[in-house]
């Protein structure tokens, strides 16, 4: 029961991250102007995705260790 609850929390966090990633990506992708107005778009998305994925992987690792360490 407790294990299932933690798995559901983790899955909700994954879904939230994916929704956020999709939303930000669609905002950043659809806006561009010459002259470097939005030149950081790709970098912002890369940092957001990279950092978020690292945190999610850590969470997954700790979730597994919680029950199998």
């Amino acid at each position: 029961m407790f294990q299932n609850a933690l798995i559901i929390i983790f899955l909700l966090a994954v879904i939230l991250f994916l929704v956020m990633r999709l939303t930000l990506y669609s905002h950043f992708r659809r806006i561009d102007l010459p002259g470097g107005v939005f030149s950081l778009n790709k970098k912002i998305m890369m940092v957001f995705q990279g950092g978020g994925l690292i945190i999610l992987l850590l969470a997954l690792a700790f979730l597994i260790l919680t029950f199998y360490a």
Binding site: F17, T23, L24, L58, L65
Partner: protein
Amino acid sequence: MLKLNNGEKVRLVKRRHPLLIKMEVFPLGSIFFITVLIMAAFPFVYQEPEWIESIYKYVGEFNFFYFCYFAITIVLLLFWQVIFMLFSNYYLDCWVVTNQRTIHTELMGLFRRYISSIYHHRIQDVSVDVKGVLATYLNYGDVQIQTAGKFREFLFRQVPDPYETKNKIMNAQKEFLRKRKKR
């Protein structure tokens, strides 16, 4: 997709004063950083609480140490997303003055984006409003463009160098009108 017309060139790009986003992000960023430090120091100070044995009876055995890490990383993920949401909100709220028009893009919440533009010949007046101690010292304020007709008023919110911004808009307008007369 936002696109410029033929022969349209960007003259000025304005966002809110960087200090304002720093003031918004700094508390969350600090909490994020402190939490990471706590995570790093946690193994050195951790002692399994005595009451945990009583919980094992109900939910089964689990490693409380790693459970704490799991909970912290989930909270970190939420902070991470909020920080990026704030930053995106700052970064995508933008005023672009070109040689033909002024474009305003604004992210109003997660699922609402507002983009509008006004050609320079419609501008009637540009006014500057610097309000408050911080705005006076740091030289930021609102620049309002009043337009002819039923168009929504353009408001550059909390932009740095509002007087300079006003001058540049006026210059872009003069240039645009001069070229228009020549045609």
